[in-house]
């Protein structure tokens, strides 16, 4: 998201929506891994792949949170500006 564009409700809700994706993948991967651990034949390669995916999704979530923080700061700045303009002297 570019900083020149004001953060709108849509941006914020889109980012929140996006955040759900890695969280969903992390939870499902972790619970799938729990299940695989109880298998008699432990598939190490599969577990390895799962952990790789969890790490990648965690980083993805962190990047989204960073964008979300920026969007919120921008929204706060715009609200501040609007309040100053609207304030009677």
């Amino acid at each position: 998201m570019s900083n020149s564009r004001p953060a709108s409700d849509t941006d914020l809700s889109a980012l929140l929506h996006e955040l759900n994706q890695p969280l969903t993948a992390i939870l499902s991967n972790a619970q799938a891994a729990q299940r695989f651990l109880s298998d008699t034949m432990l598939d190490r390669a599969e577990l390895h792949d799962i952990l790789e995916d969890i790490i990648a999704d965690d980083k993805r979530a962190a990047a989204i949170i960073k964008r979300l923080t920026e969007a919120l700061k921008e929204a706060q700045r715009l609200i501040g500006e609007a309040m100053e303009e609207g304030m009677p002297r």
Partner: protein, 217 residues
């Protein structure tokens, strides 16, 4: 977990979510097919294998609700469990009205997901069983002669043999023979069964009062 031949079709535009869900569902013993778009699913989907769809609501191009509409329009009644990122009351209502079995919010816990899938698969199995029973009955019904069918319609409408004989201008003994053949062809051993079979086949009794005098014949 038992070995099940049911397939869960996962449709989510996020490949990581699709893969993770796939692992989780496969781990529970189901067959899994993953699709990254509604379009991919529509192209590759075969309605024959028993199963259900785990469908993401929000997708670019064709979204979950549109895919549901496409499926309903094409006569595919595979049960759908929707996944959505937020509680969206309006869309939930729309999806449920169009026949969705459940609506889950991301991120979804394993137990909640498995319960919803089990419910959807049970719905699918019940629908398939009913469809099969209907098909079997329709096949048997098709072997009746026009006269036998006439007799069947009157029997399930609650007419007595002598009434049917009078209405068809024949004797009671002939109706008894027809009636025995109808029972045999439809694999029915009682009048109640005959009425149930006729109802399953969507056959209307002549006066539409099949159960009225079922006990008196």
């Amino acid at each position: 977990m038992s070995l099940q031949s049911e397939t869960v079709f996962i449709v989510d535009d996020d490949p990581e979510v699709c893969r993770a869900m796939g692992r989780l569902v496969r781990g529970a013993g189901y067959d899994v097919r993953e699709f990254n778009s509604a379009h991919d699913f529509l192209v590759a989907h075969e309605p024959d294998p028993p199963g259900c769809v785990l469908l993401d609501l929000t997708m670019p191009d064709l979204d979950g609700l549109e895919l549901q509409r496409c499926m309903v329009a094409s006569g595919c009644h595979r049960p759908i469990v929707f996944l959505t990122a937020n509680h969206d009351v309006q869309n939930t209502v729309r999806a449920m009205k169009a026949g969705a079995v459940n609506f889950l919010t991301k991120p979804v816990d394993r137990d909640e997901l498995m319960a919803a899938l089990a419910e959807a698969l049970a719905v699918d199995a019940a629908e398939r069983a009913e469809w099969e029973a209907r098909n079997t009955v329709a096949g048997r019904l098709a072997t009746l002669t026009p006269r036998e069918r006439q007799v069947l319609e009157k029997v399930v409408a609650g007419r007595l043999n002598k009434q049917i004989a009078a209405e068809l201008g024949t004797v009671e003994k002939t109706i008894k023979v027809h009636r025995a053949r109808v029972m045999q062809k439809l694999h029915a051993t009682s009048l109640i069964q005959l009425v149930e079979i006729a109802q399953l086949a969507g056959l209307k009794g002549e006066r539409g009062s099949a159960s009225a005098s079922a006990g008196s014949a």
